[in-house]
Symmetry: C3
């Protein structure tokens, strides 16, 4: 298994960072198998959505309703409402698996692989790509 | 890796389509490994739930509350409220992985593999099954 | 593929049970590959979150808002509001995949693998671990 950790800058605002290009580059030259994506953080997740048409900000609007960034949470440290950041990975899991055929990720036309990071206190994140040949 | 795309009719109403039978047929004759399920669409997801006892309509009731199909979303085209369809894959990921032992998917008694499609504008969907022997 | 089912006691109250130790023990001695976690139940899911700082009870607070345990659901049997238990696996999938390098699960410092069980009628649960060497 080839496994590699990349660094992704997510900045100091909630971010949906499209990492499809990094994923495509990682599997280039492989044959068939599974791409495994893993975020080794407790306050970030992965989503496969369309980017560039407004869904990034729509996702924050939805998450702000579903997991309000207020003081209701027991888990408290860092920025106000940070407890909800710790729940995000329960809804948006920190892993994803994608099929690779002949060195190409079989994403649909409108799908992008995204790192979703609500945490404004950690501007730099890691993502582990692993390729399982099969 | 054996990988195959099937076509699933989801019709013109929001659909929870049980595709367990198709998945079982795909792995029949295999030995041990992982079944990977992937939906190459930006407005559909996968859920593993019990079917036939009301949870399909309960799921739409829940999703209509969690992601209302109204005009709050920036991503706008097609049917009214379509922006929420683009958020569904963030909550119900477009992939799933299932263990296969001796050619049988190890689903529990009450579990079914389902394609969840809120999008009334796309009555025909694709699902990619891949088998990773191990 | 090495595959094994363990039994986890979740008791008669909604439970977030940290099963990281069991997962680490399962892959000890392996080399590189993927750990697959699967819950063969229709009313339980998996979450990878930080434990021990309040997020377990925060998760129930969130889930009680997102999927209320009341009589709105069509799927009815067992305890009142049980229909929502059947929706939990749509939001918290009953599977997870984790990268293993040199026999160690590459979880981040603050991440724990958890079985999430809202169902008070089933105090004993099963979890299947499978290791795919690669």
């Amino acid at each position: 298994m080839r496994s590699e950790v990349i660094t992704v800058e997510t900045g100091s605002a909630p971010a949906v960072r499209d990492i499809s290009a990094e994923a495509h580059a990682f599997v280039a030259g492989e044959t068939d198998g599974l791409l495994h994506v893993f975020v080794p953080h407790a306050t970030a997740g992965v989503a496969i959505i369309e980017t560039g048409s407004g869904s990034e900000s729509d996702l924050w609007r939805a998450l702000d309703d579903l997991l309000p960034a207020d003081d209701r949470w027991r888990h408290r440290h860092g920025s106000p409402g940070h407890g909800r950041d710790h729940l995000l990975p329960a809804l948006l899991a920190p892993y994803a698996t994608l099929p690779v055929v002949a060195g190409r990720i079989m994403l649909g036309t409108w799908q992008s692989l995204c790192l979703v990071d609500p945490n404004t206190d950690n501007p730099t994140r890691q993502v582990r790509f692993s390729f399982l040949p099969a």
